[in-house]
């Protein structure tokens, strides 16, 4: 014991004489520790799997999936591979996230601005909305809309009918499908008009900076947009017909065929994701607007800008700079939260791949890793984009 203490004292003295060891040793230790932990776990895994005769590897991705998926954006049937099932799941995740992001943003901005309204009643209602929907777990909200609300819809032979072409029943909401003729002309024309508007706006901005003359950009852009698109539609013979959902009866079974079917799982998920995330976006928007110095507005007013101009030229650009980073973060959260789809039957990547495919193949390690890596890639790429955006838009301090 005495010897040990003596040696430790010697060690301490030694370390004080060579301070570099104090820098390298802990790092070395961490690497070693990590190495040991990782090799310990992988050794266990490999012995376990060898003992049980489990093959590892990603070869299974090329195998036939042999199951069907309720809802997919690309063609899929049971002859396709697991890799394609993964793709179907990923696209469905992106679809529900995209829809959720759109509505969450719209609702969030609306509620956030209402929250700052001078009308106390409106502001209180917005506050109540925020507090209610952000303080109830998302999964509970999804369950509520899916199991409690959407299950109240009538059966399919008794659908709710809106405007004679939207049919809602417990099996989903059915809307007409667009069937385009010469759609490509329309798309080219659309892109072309956007390009022209972009050029026009940037030219007139430069002009304004040089001469101080203001061009009514918004009105002109609208005129350009409609003229070009109208011409393209007229001369390119772009046509649009609707294919309506039709109720087909097979003995006592009633199903709508044709049209586009929006499954209730998608509706419940997109709806609750939007409501939940919109409360956080509303708070970001509110913080962004409150974050602008009052002096800015007063200064703008004092140089004679109108109220609309102050909002457009002073408040919104500065507020957006504050709002966008946290809102992007919320978009990311929404995308990650869409994984709760697995709890109701929406076929996202977690349900299709980390659920069905995992259970059919038994390849737990490979499949959970791929799924986690997918989400990780999504978030890291968004973070990289955000860093780039922040750098680009940060105020150059002088």
């Amino acid at each position: 014991m005495k010897l040990l203490r003596k040696n430790i004292e010697k060690l301490n003295l030694f370390l004080e004489n060579y301070p570099k060891i104090g820098i390298y040793f802990p790092q070395f230790l961490i690497i070693l520790l990590l190495g040991i932990i990782i090799s310990y776990f992988s050794m266990n895994a490999s012995t376990n799997m060898a003992a049980r005769g489990i093959e590892t590897g990603f070869g299974f991705l090329a195998n036939k999936a042999s199951f069907d998926i309720q809802f997919s954006l690309i063609d899929f049937d049971s002859n396709d591979s697991y890799a394609r099932a993964y793709l179907v799941g990923l696209l469905n995740t992106l679809l529900v996230s995209g829809i959720g992001i759109f509505f969450a943003t719209v609702i969030g901005f609306f509620v956030g601005i209402t929250r700052l309204s001078t009308n106390i009643l409106a502001s209180k209602v917005a506050e109540a909305y925020i507090e209610i929907f952000r303080n109830i777990p998302l999964l509970l909200q999804i369950f509520f809309w899916y199991f409690a609300v959407l299950r109240l819809l009538p059966s399919s032979d008794n659908s709710l009918i809106l405007f004679n072409f939207v049919f809602a029943n417990i099996k989903g909401i059915y809307i007409p499908r667009f069937i385009w003729e010469n759609l490509n002309y329309f798309l080219y024309g659309f892109l072309f008009s956007i390009l022209i508007i972009y050029l026009f706006v940037s030219i007139s901005k430069k002009k304004q900076e040089k001469t101080g003359l203001q061009v009514p950009t918004f009105t002109t852009s609208l005129i350009i947009f409609f003229t070009i698109n109208f011409l393209v539609i007229y001369f390119g013979q772009v046509g649009l017909t609707l294919s309506y959902p039709v109720l087909e009866t097979n003995r006592g079974l009633h199903n709508y065929m044709g049209g586009v079917s929006v499954i209730p799982e998608l509706i419940a998920l997109a709806f609750s994701l939007s409501l939940y995330t919109s409360t956080f976006i509303a708070e970001c928007v509110r913080a962004g607007i409150l974050g602008i110095d009052k002096g800015q507005k007063e200064a703008a007013a004092s140089i004679g800008l109108s109220k609309a101009q102050i909002l457009k030229l002073i408040v919104i650009p500065q507020a957006l700079r504050i709002i966008i980073p946290p809102v992007t973060n919320q978009y990311l959260n929404l995308t990650k939260n869409s994984s709760l789809a697995a709890a109701i039957a929406y076929p996202d990547i977690v349900l299709v791949f980390a659920g069905t495919a995992l259970m059919q193949t038994g390849k737990a390690i490979e499949i959970v890793s791929i799924t986690m890596l997918t989400y990780l890639t999504l978030s890291v790429s968004i973070s990289i984009f955000m860093n780039w955006y922040n750098k680009k838009n940060s105020i150059a301090e002088r």
Partner: protein, 343 residues
Amino acid sequence: MKIIKFAVSIFAVLLLAACGNESAKKTSTLDTTKSQGFVKCGVSQGLPGFSNADASGNWAGIDVDVCRAVAAAVLGDATKVKYTPLSAKERFTALQAGDIDVLSRNTTWTLERDAAIGLEFVGVNFYDGQGFMVRKKSGIKSVKDFKNGTKVCTNTGTTTELNMADFFKAAGVSYEPVVFEKADEVVQAYDSGRCDTYTTDKSGLAAQRTKLSAPDDHIVLPETISKEPLGPVVREGDATWADVVRWSLNVWIEAEEYGVNSGNIDSMMDSKNPAIQRIVGAEGTKNGAGLNLDQKWSYNLIKQVGNYAESYKRNLADTGIMPDRGPNALWTNGGILYVPPVR
């Protein structure tokens, strides 16, 4: 510098722990089971007739009886079982990882499962097949009546999902699968009208039907679209343990064949029939030696659990779930229940 000392000691401890674990010798499941005094058995999260817990947590069912049979054979006491309810997703990992030693959870024996994911099926305790349930008022009388656009509710990650894909593909009918992980949610989705039909093993349909709001409004279609031999599973690579479970299953079924049951087994001990003597492990037969079990293993099993017929009657017939034994009758009675001889 103190922290470095601390880290060094932690490191040393970890290293020792790691090495110690590596050198630990693998013991056989049979020995561990004997020494810990209970059988670790994986069952379903609730399927009446197969494995279902009552309000006070007692498990019953024909799958549960397999666990009890193994416990009686190995430990001499059928109650020495620790049940772990598992979802379809967890069941194989739990077995592979050693959370459980027997999986008796209405699991279908297939090539893929037997060969590729480290499992070993030891036999069949229930011959099942996949069927469809529909509402009576739908007017559907046969699976041939399904047309394009049918909405089908089922469990995800089961053989059911694959059979259904095959079936509709062969019939050339387009359908929409609505898949949930929990059986309860499938039942509710079907009950609410989200789906036109509900498909799973016929025994499952019969059991789950009791959970519908109006069970009498639904019928099970006559056709069976798949073979579903359900049976207990063990880990691959432990032949001794696999043998124990396999022969517990076999003696349980063969006892019925020779009319040995929990009531008459004591008198059967003196039977003159050599086959019965072997089944009950009477004097002079070297019954349990090959399995590393004691001589009374089969006696305990039959005495405490009963034979297959008793289990079936108790769990499936008397409860009204599957009163008719159908394919699960003995081969001598027109069924396909046929096990290798205990000798």
